[in-house]
Symmetry: C2
Subunit: 416 residues, 2 copies
C-alpha cells in the first residue's frame, strides 16, 4: 500500500545531527550525568532525538520539561490578576538543586518571539519579574558555568511565520529549519569535526586578543564614534569553554562571536544600532545613544523608543555595558540576511554590545573573584542583559594599548 | 476555500467538559491555588483545556509536566546500565514541596499499559523502584490528602489500540474517548450537576455502611467463600472527600466504588478474581488465593502466576489486604463490557480488594492517627497497592455484626 504524503518540512537526518551536536559538542555530556531539557512543546521531535543521544552517551536521567504557548497565552487571557505575581518557585528551586548536583542543562529555543505582543504589557512585565526572581538562583549557576550547558534552536511554526511572514507555514518552517541547520553547522556530514575546526578558529582570535591586552576598543563608522574601555583583567572568550565541573561545553549553538567584559565606567561617544532589536514582543529600531563615563546619557530610536527608555531605567546598571562582542560582517548568519528575532542567532550576525549584567567568566580567574572585585575591575551589574547589534560593513575597530598605540582589529567589518 | 478533513476522533466539546469537571468537581480548585498537571505528551489538547479552566477558576500558576513514551522507551533501548537506578530526585522533592505549599495535583493517565512489556523486566523493576523511592515523600502527601487532587484519563492512541486491538487507530481512539466521556459523566450537558447527584448516591451508601459498623463482610459466589474482617474504627469512603487543606475533591474521575480498610490480620477463606489484572505490562488472569489470618497462603493464576507470586513477595504487607471496595455489577463501567487495562476504570467495574498499603483516610479521624495506631487497628502497610476484581453477577455479600447478626449488603452483585 502507498499513500501520498506531504514532505515533512524538517529534514529528520539534520534534526538528528543537531541533537548529536548538542550532546557531543554543546554539552559534551559525561556518562552518569543527568540532563534537564527545556523546550517548547512543538519541539518534541528534537527532544526525542536529544534523549536518545543523551542515553547513548550514558546519561543518568533525562528530564524533559515542555512549555506550551497556548497554555502561556491562556494565563494572560483568563488568569486572575493575582496570578501575574506568581512563579513556580518549587520548580526553579529544584532546578538550582539539580545544577548543583552536576545535572547538565539543555535549552531548546523556538518560541514565537511575538507571542506576548498583544497582551497587557504591565502583566507581561509582572510575570517576567516574578519568574526572574524565582529563576535567579538557578540562572546564576548557569551564568557562572557551575555545570555544562547548551542552547540550540528548533524551527517552531509560530517562530518561522515571524521570520518568513510571506510564505505558507510549512514553507516557512522548512526555510527556518534550513537556516538553523546551516548556522548550527549540521547541514552536512562531519558536523562534530566542523565544530572542532570552528572552535579552533575562535580560539585563535581570543588568544590573539588576550595576548594584546587592549585597554580599549575604538569604533568608527557611519553615525558611530565610540570608545569602549575594557575591564581590568578582562578575558576574551569564544566557542568552547570549560565549566566549573571540568566539562568543556559550547554554550551557544550557533556561535560566531568572541566577547569580553567592557569597563562599565569607561565608555564614551556615539553609536547607532545596525539591526532592529526584538525585545519581549517589541521591535526597537535605529537606536542612537550617547555614552558619558560608561553611562547612556541620551537615547533615541525610530521605533520602540519608549520601551528602550523603560529598559534603560530598569536599574543602575541597565544603562551601562556588560558585554562587547566581535563578529565579522561575513559571518554565515550575517550572510543569510535574515532577522531571526532571537538573540541566539541575531547576536552572531554582527559585532554587538550588551546592556546590563557582565559575565564573570570574561575575567582572568573570573570564577575566583568576588562580586566586589568584579565591580572594582569594571564589571557591570544589572537584572538585564540585552545584546544589540552595532557592526556593519563599514565598521572599523582599533585596539588601543595603555600607551595609546593603536592596532587594527577590524576593517570594514572584517578581521584586520 | 474548503478542504476535505478527517473528523477528529475526540469530541472537543466533551473534552472541554472533562477539563471543566476536573477543575470544578475533581479538584474544586480555589482562587490563588497553584496547580501541577502531569500528563502523557499526547494529552496536550486536554492539558490546554485544563489550564484554561484552572486560570478561569483563579489558579495561581499552572505547571504542566508532560512525559513522553518515546523518551521513556529511549532509556530502555539506549541507556547505560547505571541509568536504571536513578531518578529525578530534585523534581520529586520539588513536587513534595509544592504539595506542602497547597499546590493542587491533577494527573492525566493515558499511557500505553503495555509500553514496557517488551523491555527487560529487571531494568523495569529497578527503574520503578528508584522512582518509587524518590516519589515517596510527594506520594505520601497525596495518599494522605494533604492537598486536593484528582486523576482523569485521556484517550491516547497507544492505550486505545490495547483496548480495541481490532479496529484502526482513529476508530479505537474515538471508541475509547466515548467510553472515557461516558464513564466520567461528561457525555451530556450538566456534567457538574450529574456529579453532585452521583456523589449524593455514593454518600448515601457510605453513610448507611458507616452507621452499620460491620465487623466483617462475608462473600459467597462461584469459587469464593471469603470473610474480610474490617479494621477497628474503619470508615467507608466514596465519591467526594475533604482534603486536609479543607477543600472537598473527587480524587478519581470516574469513580463508582465505596471502600474502606480491611483488618489485615482478619481475612480468611478462598476468593477468585472476576477480571484479568493488568500489572506493569503483564496480564494476570484467573487468580485463586487462600487467606489465613489475613495473609495469602496459597496463590495461583492461569496466566502471569510468576509475576503474581513476585508481587506477593514484595514485602510483609504485600500478601495482605489494604482496601475492600463495593461496586454494583450494574455500574456503567461494568456495563461497557470493556477491559481498560487501567485501574482508574477497571476497579469501578466490580467489587474489588487491594493487596498492600491501606488508606489512613478510611479510618475515623484517620488524619490524626499515628502509623502505629493504624497498624494496631488493623491497617496494612506495604510499598504496593494493587486492586483486583472479585465481584460478579453471582456475588452475595453480607455484613456481619459483632453479635454475629448478618445483614444483606449485596445480592447477585447488586446493592441489597
Ligand atoms: Zn554576545
Ligand atoms: Zn550577550
Ligand atoms: Zn478501589
Ligand atoms: Zn485501590
Amino acid at each position: 500500500m502507498t499513500a501520498v504524503q506531504r514532505n515533512a518540512p524538517i529534514d529528520p537526518v539534520k534534526l538528528d545531527r543537531l541533537a548529536e551536536v548538542a550532546i557531543k559538542v554543546g554539552l559534551q555530556l559525561r556518562p552518569g550525568q543527568d540532563l534537564l531539557v527545556t523546550a517548547p512543546s512543538v519541539a518534541l521531535p528534537l527532544v526525542r532525538r536529544i534523549a536518545e543521544h543523551a542515553y547513548k552517551a550514558g546519561a543518568g536521567i533525562v528530564t524533559p520539561f515542555l512549555a506550551d504557548e497556548a497554555i502561556t497565552l491562556s494565563r494572560y487571557r483568563h488568569g486572575h490578576d493575582a496570578s501575574f505575581d506568581r512563579a513556580a518557585n518549587w520548580l526553579y528551586e529544584g532546578m538550582a538543586k539539580a545544577f548543583s548536583a552536576n545535572t547538565a542543562r539543555l535549552a531548546i529555543v523556538g518560541d514565537n518571539p511575538m507571542l506576548l505582543s498583544g497582551e497587557d504589557p504591565v502583566k507581561v512585565a509582572r510575570a517576567s519579574k516574578a519568574n526572574s526572581i524565582a529563576y535567579q538562583p538557578a540562572l546564576e549557576k548557569i551564568v557562572n558555568f557551575d555545570t555544562n550547558w547548551n542552547i540550540i534552536a528548533y524551527p517552531s511554526p509560530s517562530w518561522a511565520k515571524q521570520v518568513f511572514p510571506d510564505v505558507p507555514e510549512d514553507v516557512a518552517v522548512a526555510k527556518l529549519a534550513d537556516a538553523i541547520f546551516a548556522a548550527s553547522r549540521v547541514d552536512q556530514d562531519g558536523a562534530v569535526a566542523a565544530w572542532e575546526k570552528h572552535n579552533a578558529v575562535l580560539r585563535e582570535r581570543t588568544e590573539w586578543l588576550n595576548g594584546q591586552r587592549f585597554q580599549a576598543l575604538k569604533y568608527s563608522g557611519p553615525g558611530t564614534d565610540l570608545t569602549i574601555g575594557l575591564a581590568d583583567g578582562h578575558e576574551w572568550e569564544g566557542g568552547a569553554s570549560t565549566a566549573k565541573n571540568g566539562i568543556t561545553c559550547n554554550a551557544n549553538i550557533p556561535t560566531e562571536e568572541v566577547f569580553t567584559t567592557p569597563h562599565c565606567r569607561r565608555v564614551s561617544g556615539h553609536v547607532v544600532s545596525s539591526k532592529p532589536l526584538s525585545y519581549q514582543g517589541t521591535l526597537i529600531d535605529n537606536i542612537q545613544v550617547k555614552f558619558e563615563e560608561g553611562r547612556i546619557v541620551e537615547a533615541r530610536a525610530s521605533r520602540g523608543e519608549e520601551v528602550l527608555k523603560k529598559v534603560l531605567d530598569t536599574d543602575e546598571g541597565a544603562a551601562r555595558l556588560g558585554e562587547v562582542a566581535l563578529v565579522p560582517h561575513s559571518s554565515p548568519i550575517s550572510k543569510s540576511g535574515l532577522l531571526f528575532f532571537n538573540t541566539l542567532f541575531d547576536e552572531n550576525a554582527a559585532s554587538h554590545i550588551a546592556l546590563g549584567q557582565c559575565y564573570s567568566k570574561c575575567f582572568v580567574n573570573g570564577d575566583k573573584l568576588t562580586p566586589e572585585q568584579i565591580a572594582a575591575q569594571g564589571g557591570n551589574k544589572s537584572l538585564i542583559h540585552i545584546d544589540w547589534m552595532i557592526g556593519t560593513a563599514e565598521t572599523d575597530i582599533d585596539g588601543v594599548h595603555a600607551d595609546g598605540r593603536r592596532v587594527p582589529v577590524m576593517r570594514k567589518g572584517e578581521w584586520a
